[in-house]
């Protein structure tokens, strides 16, 4: 196969894609309006291609995409489920797309009603009392939540400087707490894969503002001791924060509010029907219990005399964390998804996502290592320790999966499992797909025994085979230079 050229190296000087009509307005002399150093003298090195060349270039690139629309994508903790296309259609209705955030409340009652009703549904699902929809994604939601935690304590003249996270936590948790000025301390995981209560008791004191938890945790295991945890945390006056990354497993089954969580962020783009992984747009709403409502960003959306209004009178608001009201299109999709499925449908998501993960765990726990001998929730963490003895590591297995048309699982995370492969099948995959994946994983384990070289050099069937990740990380030269 001919090696692909960059678009800059294709075409021919002077070639153009479209014929523009003659300019029918008077031309101006640009140098009268802009300083000379800002005016580009020529546009050499601009790609010069005709329309067909451009179409072929980008169509070819798009065909190399790996997406949930083409292949199984069991990327752990990312919930790469299929998002029904009808929600895209609904979100693109002109009544939603042709409105402007500066329009008066009177003229956008329908849009406000959707946000308000979505909030009502999310309060029911999580057990929280009020939400802000401003945060644009998960980590932004975490940061917003940490600002709220900080303000809550400062408002009481109680200056707390620490935030606790488990050693299995998402990396964004300590990062968000740190960004907000907190010192982060890790709490150990016990032999069952849950939070170590003895270690928690040792580390919690009245300088701790918050414990950040994901439940199910990143090992795909339910925190069985969550009620004891909330008791330990609250007795010291600290808050309990819920990272909603793994909410898929609990939908309609259990509410973070009932477990004692005070503040919750959700990833609407994971759990509630927005495709993700491409960099956005996402949505990371933050929900809180009654006591924390006064710290939420402004404006909140309230209902007054049958009308939906923006409420800017939030006494101790942390202010704004984003322009306007959030990524509205994502909110429309989440609303359509929740109301389309209803309470029973949401429960089915939890049921099937947990069933699918356990089916895979059951079939593969003898072939690969499994650190904790428990049923999992919506995802499972295998370890390639057995294969490591043969010189095969988790990376080789992940790369080999690509040859079989499967996206690699999350690798080397959580950090407390060696050679980790974190697999989240989600509820939208059929039994046939799960069986195919299981068979491929068994086959790869055999290849690791009999033909390790095959794995070391994988993938073999892709346009670009194994890339030199070390060189890429050590010399991240991404810029194209003319003529080089």
């Amino acid at each position: 196969m001919e090696k692909d050229k960059l678009i800059f190296d294709k075409g021919r000087k002077g070639r153009i894609g479209v014929s523009l009509p003659e300019c029918d307005i008077k031309e101006i002399n640009i140098s009268e309006h802009l300083p000379g150093h800002l005016i580009r003298k020529d546009i050499k090195d601009m790609p010069s291609l005709n329309e067909l060349e451009v179409i072929r270039h980008y169509t070819k690139l798009s065909q190399r995409n790996f997406s949930i629309d083409t292949n199984f994508y069991p990327l752990g903790s990312c919930t790469m489920k299929y998002n029904p296309k009808v929600h895209e259609k609904i979100a693109s209705f002109s009544g939603f797309t042709d409105i402007h955030p500066l329009q008066s409340e009177d003229t956008v009652q329908g849009a406000l009603e959707i946000i308000w009703k979505l909030e009502e549904a999310l309060c029911e699902i999580t057990g929280m009392k009020k939400f802000t929809f401003q945060p644009s994604a998960g980590a932004h939601g975490e940061l917003t939540a940490m600002f709220i935690v900080d303000k809550y304590f400062k408002n009481k003249n109680d200056y707390r400087k620490k935030v606790l996270v488990p050693d299995s936590s998402h990396g964004t948790n300590p990062a968000s707490a740190n960004m907000c000025g907190f010192i982060v301390e890790e709490v150990k995981t016990n032999f069952e894969g849950g939070i170590d209560l003895a270690d928690l008791k040792e580390k919690i004191n009245d300088t701790v503002a918050c414990l950040m938890l994901t439940n199910p945790n990143t090992l795909g295991l339910f925190e069985k001791d969550i009620l004891k945890v909330q008791d330990i945390v609250h007795k010291k006056g600290a808050l309990l924060y819920y990272d909603g990354a793994n909410l898929n497993a609990l939908l309609g089954k259990a509410k973070p509010g009932d477990m004692g969580f005070d503040i919750v962020h959700l990833n609407l783009h994971k759990t509630f029907s927005t495709p993700h992984g491409g960099g956005g747009p996402g949505s990371g709403p933050v929900g809180v219990v009654e006591e924390l409502i006064e710290f939420l960003p402004v404006p909140l959306i309230d209902k007054k005399n049958g009308k939906f209004v923006f409420n800017y009178k939030v006494n101790n608001s942390i202010g704004k964390v984003r322009a306007f009201y959030g990524n509205f299109g994502v909110l429309v999709k989440a609303y359509a998804y929740i109301y389309g499925l209803g309470a029973e449908g949401l429960k089915q998501i939890a049921n099937i996502s947990v069933l699918n993960a356990n089916y895979i765990l059951n079939k593969l726990e003898k072939v690969y290592n499994c650190k904790y001998n428990r049923n999992c929730m919506h995802e499972l963490v295998l370890s390639a320790l057995k294969q490591k003895n043969k010189g095969i590591n988790a990376l080789d297995i992940a790369k080999r999966l690509i040859d079989y048309g499967i996206h690699p699982p999350t690798m080397y995370f959580p950090l407390i499992v060696k050679e980790a492969l974190m697999i989240e099948p989600t509820e939208t995959e059929s039994k046939e797909t799960l069986d195919y994946f299981i068979n491929v994983m068994i086959k790869i384990a055999k290849e690791a025994e009999n033909n390790p070289e095959l794995l070391h050099n994988a993938p073999h069937n892709t346009f670009v085979s194994r890339v030199d990740e070390v060189k890429a990380a050590r010399e991240p030269n991404l810029r194209w230079y003319p003529g080089k």
């Binding site: 990376l395 080397y412 950090l415 990740e469 070390v470 990380a473 050590r474």
Partner: protein, 121 residues
Amino acid sequence: MAELKFAETHEWIKIEDGKGKIGITEHAQDELGDIVFVELPDIGKDIEKGESFGVVESVKVASDLYAPCTGKIIAVNSELQSNPQLINEDAFGKGWIIEIEISNEDELNDLLNESEYKEMI
């Protein structure tokens, strides 16, 4: 004669005349894989036992470096900025990371000796 001690968090410290050179162990570099970046602290900074003083980053993971004992940083291996692979190639030698002036020699008693460390891993 320099004495080599180990922390449970996989750092080594070579102790000589009240000073200690610190790096990560052969086992640690093997677990991390090819190291692509090392974040070094400033010279002159005081570090406490157990405190994070820097970061090593491999293709797989970024990992904090923890001080095996309390002291003042008197040198850093700036060679690692352009050649982080020195840690992979020579973890106990050219791959050293910082040197400190040890402020409390008693703390060294909590560290592991070579055979204890080997047993741990």
